[in-house]
Each structure stands twice: as C-alpha cells, then as structure tokens.
C-alpha cells in the first residue's frame, strides 16, 4: 500500500492514546499469550537445561553448562545439525517445487479445476504419523508394494540399513502432505496475478516460460517467501511424527534431526536435562535462521 506522500505532508495518521490503560488493555491479550505459551516454557527450558533431574522430578543435580558440554562432545549430536539442514532443505524443495508446478497446471485449467483442487488438497488432511505409516507400508522391505516393484526391477530396497534410502523415505513422507498446503497458497497467489499484465506480455510475443519467469514468479515472491519460512519451520518442528513411525531416527542416526532427538531423549529416554539443553540450542538455531531469512532473503521479495 504505497501512500502518495510529499515532503511536508502532515496527514500522518498516527493514532495516539491519552493515558496508559487502554493501550495496555489492547496489547494485553497478545502479551499474555506470548508470556504463557512462549516466555514461560522457554524460561523453564533454559532453567532445566542447567540440571540433570531424575525422571520423576524427585531430585535434580545442578551441572551448570554440563548438559551442553555433554551434547557438543557427542559426535552424533554434531552430525545431526547437518542431517537437519539436509532434511529441511530437501523437505522444503520437495514440497514447494511440485506444489508450484501443480498450481500452475491447475491455474491453466478451464474445466474441472474444482475437482483437481479438491483432490490435491486431500493429503493435507492426513496426520503426519498416519502419513508415515502409509509410506512405511508401501516401502516395507518385505511386504511393501513399491519395494516389491523395485525388487522386480533388480533394485534391493532396504531403508532399515541404508541411510540414504531412509532419508529419502522420510523426506518424501514429510513433504507429501505439505505439497497440498503449498499448492493452496500458490494457487491463490496465481489467481491474484493480474491478467492484464500477462496479456500485455503475450501481445508483446512472450511465450509461456518467459512470462512465467519474468512476470509470474516475481509476483509470487511474497507467497514463496512466506512458504519458505513456514516450510522450514515445519521441517524443523513438525516432522518428528513421521520420523518416529518410519525410522525412529535410524539407521545409525542418519535420520535423527534435532527436534527428533529432543523428543526421543526427553520422552523415550526421560533425560529431561539433555532434552531441555537441546531445546535451548534449537531455539537459538531457529532464531538465527529467522533473522537470516528476514534480513537477506526478504530483500529479494517484491511486495
């Protein structure tokens, strides 16, 4: 919303309040929600990360930064940073590129686009853990349909021993449902691209791909940026259901991403000290990532 303004423009529309009570009341809901659901638990995690408590909360040993030291000395933990990066990038790419492709196709449809849209959105309704089980069934090393088919082609699929295949499988299972979500946003954004601009380019002789690269894609950039942030956050935090059902982080921790380790150490291993320390580290990592995204990538976005 660009406002036509000139030097000396005095039509500044700033709302000013008299007194403190009303503004405080107005921001109170947001502040309270942040405090209860973010600052309080984050503060607790930071506090707990300084202790090794027993599972029942009967006693706790103060260890200072001992939990962090323990983690950073663990070469598997250090490796899981790289695993997380690879996983997040792959999930983001595999869920955004096909979504954009499908959205472009659906956008060009004249008849029956409603049916396609509905069908394409369906996978989003499937819970991550259920999606995990579905994919696991298809790729089960012995009874899976797809692994059987690969076997007839001479490829011996075994994601329980092969780290690369395990990573591929959790990426596909995590990205699959997300394609629908991304599709929805891309589709809406495509509909908002002004027809007149595209028609003008067409009259000038620009073919489809040229129009797509020079007009449509730049106009989609706010949506793309939004989806990039949201998908990375998704890959970081919401995929442990899929990983838990398919690989449990294996083989040899090749699919243990940071948040899965927080979950498995805290809720399977009952090591709340280490789990808290990991959440603190994760908090810092995601904070940095968000800063980077907004500082550098957002500059390339045209609103």
């Amino acid at each position: 919303m660009a406002r036509l303004s000139q030097p000396g423009d005095r039509l500044e529309k700033r709302v000013t309040f008299r007194g403190w009570l009303l503004p405080l009341l107005l921001i109170a809901p947001q502040v309270i929600i942040s405090a209860v659901f973010f600052f309080y638990p984050a503060g607790q995690a930071i506090w707990q990360s300084l202790f090794i408590p027993d599972p029942f909360g009967l006693s706790a040993q103060f260890v200072g930064l001992g939990n962090f030291e323990f983690l950073l000395n663990d070469k598997f933990y250090r490796a899981s940073f790289l695993t997380t990066a690879v996983f997040s990038i792959l999930v983001t790419l595999c869920s955004m590129v096909p979504a954009l492709f499908l959205a472009v196709l659906a956008d060009r449809l004249i008849k029956g686009s409603g049916v396609y849209r509905t069908l394409l959105i369906w996978p989003y309704a499937v819970a991550p853990a259920v999606a995990g089980v579905l994919w696991l069934f298809m790729f089960n090393t012995r009874v899976g349909v797809i692994s059987w088919y690969l076997g007839t082609l001479g490829y011996d699929w075994n994601h329980v021993l092969n780290g690369g295949e395990a990573m591929g499988l959790v990426v596909v299972a995590s990205a699959w449902g997300r394609i629908s979500y991304n599709f929805l946003f891309f589709f809406a954004a495509l509909q908002a691209v002004p027809r007149s601009v595209i028609e003008a380019a067409a009259i000038d002789g620009a073919r489809f791909w040229r129009r797509f690269w020079t007009i449509v894609l730049p106009l989609l950039s706010p949506t793309t940026f939004f989806l990039l942030v949201v998908n990375i956050v998704y890959a970081f935090f919401e995929t442990f259901g899929v990983i838990h059902t398919i690989t449990s982080g294996g083989p040899q921790q090749t699919t243990t991403i940071l948040v899965y380790k927080v979950f498995s150490d805290g809720f399977v291993g009952q090591d709340l000290g280490s789990s808290s320390a990991q959440s603190v580290i994760l908090l810092i990592v995601v904070g940095l990532l968000t800063v980077i995204q907004f500082k550098y990538i957002e500059k390339r976005v045209h609103y």
């Binding site: 090794i52 408590p53 027993d54 599972p55 029942f56 909360g57 009967l58 706790a60 040993q61 260890v63 323990f70 663990d74 598997f76 090393t141 012995r142 009874v143 075994n158 329980v160 021993l161 092969n162 449990s248 982080g249 294996g250 083989p251 040899q252 921790q253 498995s264 150490d265 809720f267 399977v268 291993g269 009952q270 090591d271 000290g273 280490s274």
Partner: protein
Amino acid sequence: MNKTLIAGLALSGTMLSPLAAYAQTEVQFWHAFTGRLGELVKAQVEEFNASQSDYVVVESHKGNYSETLNAGIAAFRAQEQPHVLMVFEVGTATMMSAQGAIKPVYQVMAESGAEFDPDAFIGSVKGYYTTTDGEMLSLPFNSSTPVLWVNRDAFKAAGVDPDTDLSTWQNVDAVLDQLKAGGSECPLVTAWQSWIHLENFSAYHDVPFASKDNGFSGLDTELMLNGEAQVAHLTAMGEWAKEGKFVYTGRRNEGGANFRAGECALFTESSAGYAGIKAEAQFDFDVRPLPYWEGVGNAPQNTIIGGASLWVMEGHESEEYKGVGAFLNFLSSSDVQASWHQNTGYLPITAAAGEATRLAGFYDENPGTDIAVIQMTAKEPTANSKGLRLGSFDQIRGIIDEELEAIWSGDKTAQAAMDSAKERGDALLRRFESANK
C-alpha cells in the same frame, strides 16, 4: 481434565446415597496391552472385581511400554499417579532408583496382610525384580524369553531335514548354508536383536553384559558387551547377513511378519510370539531352545526374561494399598498365572502355575510350549544371568541397535561397533548415575 473432574463430581454428587458409606475402594491400574492381551488383562480384572466386594480395580490402557511408563511418570509429576503401573523390564532400573515415587511390593504385601510368598516365583523371574538383599520391589507379571522358531515346511522346500539338531549355532551355521543352497530367500530372521543376540546371548553363555553384576550391585556399572564371546557371535551374524543367510528387517519384531507369512525358515523371537504364530502360520512349525555356541563361556547357562512387572506407586491411602495387595495377590495366584501362560505363551512365573499347566496336559497337547520354561529354569542363575539393571536402558538399546545395523550393513566390524556402543552407552550410564546420586 477439568471437565471430567467436574463431571465426576456431579456424578458422585447425584449418587450420594446412604449406600455410599460402603463404597468400594478404587484401585487404578495402568497397563500397555491391546488386542488379545488387552482382553485377557481385562478379563483378569473383571474376575478379581467379581471375586470380592471391598475393592474395585479400574484398568486403563496407556499406549505401548514406553508410553505407559511415560504416562506414569508424567502422572506422578502431576500428582495423579495410578496405584499400579506396568513397566517393561527395560525401565526396571529407572523405577528402582525412584525412591519416593514407588512403594516396594514386599512392603505393600506386608502392610496389606495378604499371604504372599516371593519364593513361589521362579528364580530367574524373581531375581530380575528383587534387590540384592532379596526384597521384591515389583510384581513379575508377563515374562518371556527368546527361543528359536522353525518353519518345517521351509526346511523341506530347501531339502533340509526339519529334525536336524539346531541346539548350537555351529549346527545352525551349517543348516543356514544348506537352506541358502536349497533356494531359501530368508534362512534366518530375528526380532529384538539387542535383547536376543546380546543381552540373552551374554546370560546364556555366562559372560557379563555389564560390570557390577550387570548393574545389580551398583550404579557405577560399565557395559562389557564388546567382550570376545559377543564379538565372535556378531561377527558370525555379520557374515551371515553379507551372504544373505540372515535377513535384517528392523529393530522390533518386524521379522515376525516375514516368518508368519512363511518366508523365513528360522526365527529367533520371544516365546510370547506363540499366540501370533499359532494364529497366522499356514505351515508346520515347531519351537526349539535358543542355540548357543558350543565351547563358548558356560553355555548353555539360562536365558533371561523380557516383559513387564507391576510397580506400586507412592502417595495413596493405606486402605487403597490393601486393595492393591489383594489384587496383586490374586494376579500371582496359580490359577490366574496358569491360564495366562497357556493363553499367551508368556512364562508361568510361579512354579505352581507351571506344575498346574503340566498336570492339565497342556504341554502334551501343545508340544514345545514348555521349552522356554526349561531353558530358563534348567540352571540356577549366576551373576551374569540374573538379568540386567541398567539406567537409561531404553536409550542404550537404541544405541546398540544403531551399532548392530552398522555391522549388518557392513559399515563396521563387530569389534568396532561394540566398542563404540560401549563408549556411547557408558556416557549415558554416567549421566544416569549423576542424576540418581
């Protein structure tokens, strides 16, 4: 939570009749069983409730073993713990260290005045849940031990005599060759690899799995699973995996599906696999004792148990603990145990239940169902075969699984993998030690 509380209050309000003075004392029992096992537990609880009028046991399913333990821990932290919590054997050390959260079973029994004889339980079962001073901390409930399942039809198909002696791994090694040569795609498959091929393997060959009597006599225990005997066994299995004679399917009991479908010839799995195999197998099968390496350690010693025990949680009224005592006493009675054993393939955990089953002619009608019992009770357990008591053991098993996978895929030698498992596992044991000082 609040809604149920309010609903509960409203309900008890409307039901406040003069009779309420004689209300039954309620005992909460959380367990991890679904399906057929869930039905059997429910039937036991109903039978107990019908047998007397002072107490009523309310059973609820809280997910798998790990989830049930976590539910119990979370509930304790919120001061809403059940009276009786089912905990799998892996969580034993965690529970034992939780003084203030648990009420030892021997104490519950003494206070409730119920007749209770810990010596009625068979040694290797009792030993797992008893302190070195002989005090029983939790009540053994479902216990099983690994055995070797044989698909006789698969043997015949590969031209191998199904009655071949499979008591030693040396013999099995030769048979695997024959099966492979006879065209078997899956000569050997296993469930619960760490439990069977390391934990039980160590006990069965009478070699230590961890120092300090496998953790029984101190928290400052260290893993010893990289010993000569274990490494030799895993090296052999690694070779089998490479040659396609051992097929790896996953960390839990995924291999059961392959065996029950008739794909695999041999299957190392818990004796409690009986119910499933009997129900699904479309082929002729039998059960053999777990094989051992002839000449290694003192094999065959005895195998150890897997399964769960019942822990009584602290923080309830003494009247309720009387109910708990009565319920636990009922569960360990020989009739209840005998029918549990016969229905599930779990071990009869009291000697009397085993005897009752034998007298009823069950073993004659179902040959092989007593093999697990014999295998566990043939010898008096040693310090190496009494069981395992290691903190953070669920996580350590995860580490062992990872390292075993590295052997099966050929990434590491058995020695390197077990050295690494020891190093990583010991780090967790030290954390557990400092958390429970």
